[in-house]
């Protein structure tokens, strides 16, 4: 027991300084994830796809919910994954191994949102058959929803009010944590332009805080300005 305890690495090495530059470097939570999942997709597309949905469900959902004006983020996320699957079916194994999954998936979500908006304008939705109950998958945790609504509601609404380019850039940079180079590829603009979209978006959000004069949510349990 004591031997095993002595061998354990100290956890402090993983902790990050809140104000230091390390925080802004938290860009990729799974650095080797992409390559590993690409390998699994190339080996067995359908089995690998379950891993893909597991690993990038958050990324796709977050982009669907925060970076697009989609009415139903779950529909958009599901549609985006299906588009990804259909595309992968047409790719060879070597192309799949070289994919950069995160920017590739984000691009698919943004394109799907555009298409969905165009389709919605063209034709009304028809109801599939069956009772009108909710599919199992959309039963969210009530506690989860309430907590998210409470903490994120205000900032989320302000974010939704940003111009599309800035909103997308801020979400990709600071909500899902992509690098500027990836964001530039996704937005189809130079890196400098991507950086300025992010900066202007952030400035607008800060200005909104200043106008409303309330402390930033999420940090301030018990903290007051000016004390």
């Amino acid at each position: 027991m004591s031997v095993a305890g002595a061998r354990r690495r100290p956890a402090s090495g993983l902790q990050r300084n809140r104000r230091g530059g390390v925080l802004s470097g938290v860009t990729s939570s799974v650095p080797t994830g992409d390559a590993e999942i690409c390998r699994r997709l190339a080996d067995d597309l359908d089995a690998g796809f379950v891993d893909l949905v597991g690993a990038y469900g958050r990324l796709v959902f977050t982009v669907a919910a925060r970076a697009t004006p989609a009415a139903d983020a779950e529909d958009l996320a599901a549609e985006s994954f299906l588009r990804a699957y259909r595309a992968l079916r047409g790719y060879g194994a070597s192309r799949i191994r070289q994919l950069r999954l995160r920017p590739w998936l984000v691009t698919i979500v943004l394109n799907s949102a555009r298409n969905a908006r165009r389709d919605a304008a063209r034709r009304p939705r028809t109801d599939p058959f069956g009772p009108g109950e909710e599919p199992l998958s959309s039963q969210r945790d009530a506690a989860d929803l309430a907590a998210a609504a409470d903490a994120a509601g205000k900032l989320g609404r302000r974010l939704a009010g940003l111009p599309a380019k800035q909103r997308t850039a801020v979400v990709l940079r600071h909500v899902v944590g992509l690098g500027l180079a990836e964001i530039a590829v996704i937005l189809g603009c130079p890196e400098g332009t991507a950086r300025s979209h992010v900066a202007r978006g952030l400035a607008a959000l800060r200005a909104a805080y200043a106008v409303e004069g309330d402390p930033a949510p999420g940090t301030g349990h018990g903290e007051r300005r000016g004390t």
Partner: protein
């Protein structure tokens, strides 16, 4: 600008990450399982939206089924770890009404036909024209036939229970022999129905109740022979003072 506010807005943005709801992967990735049907084995595919495909397969036919599914729906599919609750029982008993189906991609007409068909009880049969009348399209009898021919979920949505009004069983995607075997396995008296049709009897009434039924309706199978009366059509039954059965709804348009 104060650096505390600066770092906090970026941290707050991190909190806007949205987690997929539980079971989200089951909405994207379909599963399939093999179940014992009344006649042979049936392979069934579903997502959390419902069952979307079923097929008779021979032993070892699962990979072929999965391939056909991917071709048709462009969706990943894997063998299920657990069978869908209620599926095995429904396949065995022929009662597929309580299961949930995902018929996205079919036309509103096709969905209507399959929905009406789902209401036909085990062991009973209905003419194609009955389905057409049920969905308020009494003249679309042939279209009903082709919609049933494209039923993506045979057995569970019992298109085998729709037969010709001349007493023959009509066509079937899995072959007429299989249709006959399915109907006999669930207790339909095909020989009696053929005899009645040959004698020009398409409706059977009871002189005790004054109610007229389709010949396979379970409520008219109990009529004592002395009280049984056959009719060629509903007009004849109406003239004789009979009213249509509310269970098998002979020739009734769907109540609005």
């Amino acid at each position: 600008m104060n650096p505390r506010a600066r770092s906090s807005i970026e941290e707050d943005l991190r909190l806007l990450e949205v987690r997929p709801p539980r079971g989200f992967a089951d909405r994207v990735v379909a599963r399939y399982a093999l179940v014992a049907g009344p006649v042979g084995e049936l392979c069934v595919a579903w997502t959390s939206a419902g069952i979307s495909m079923a097929d008779f397969i021979s032993p070892g036919g699962e990979p072929g089924f999965a391939r056909r599914y991917r071709e048709r729906f462009g969706r990943p599919i894997l063998p299920a770890a657990r069978p869908l609750p209620g599926l095995a029982a429904a396949a065995r008993s022929g009662r597929g009404r309580k299961l949930r189906y995902d018929l996205a991609g079919l036309s509103a007409f096709e969905v209507g036909v399959l929905e009406a068909t789902l209401a036909i009880p085990v062991g009973e049969v209905r003419p194609y024209a009955w389905v057409a009348a049920e969905i308020g399209r009494p003249r679309a009898v042939r279209a009903v036939g082709s919609a049933l021919g494209r039923n993506p979920v045979p057995v569970l949505i019992p298109c085998h229970r729709v037969t010709r009004s001349d007493g023959t069983i009509g066509n079937y995607g899995g072959g007429p022999a299989r249709k006959e075997a399915l109907l006999r396995a669930e207790g339909a008296d095909l020989d009696e129905l053929a005899d009645l049709a040959a004698a020009g009897v398409h409706y059977v009434g009871s002189t005790a109740t004054g109610i007229v039924c389709l010949p396979s309706c379970h409520s008219c199978r109990r009529i004592a022979p002395a009280r049984r009366r056959g009719f060629r059509d509903l007009a004849e039954a109406g003239t004789a003072g009979f009213r249509p059965c509310r269970l098998c709804r002979p020739g009734l348009p769907r109540s609005a």
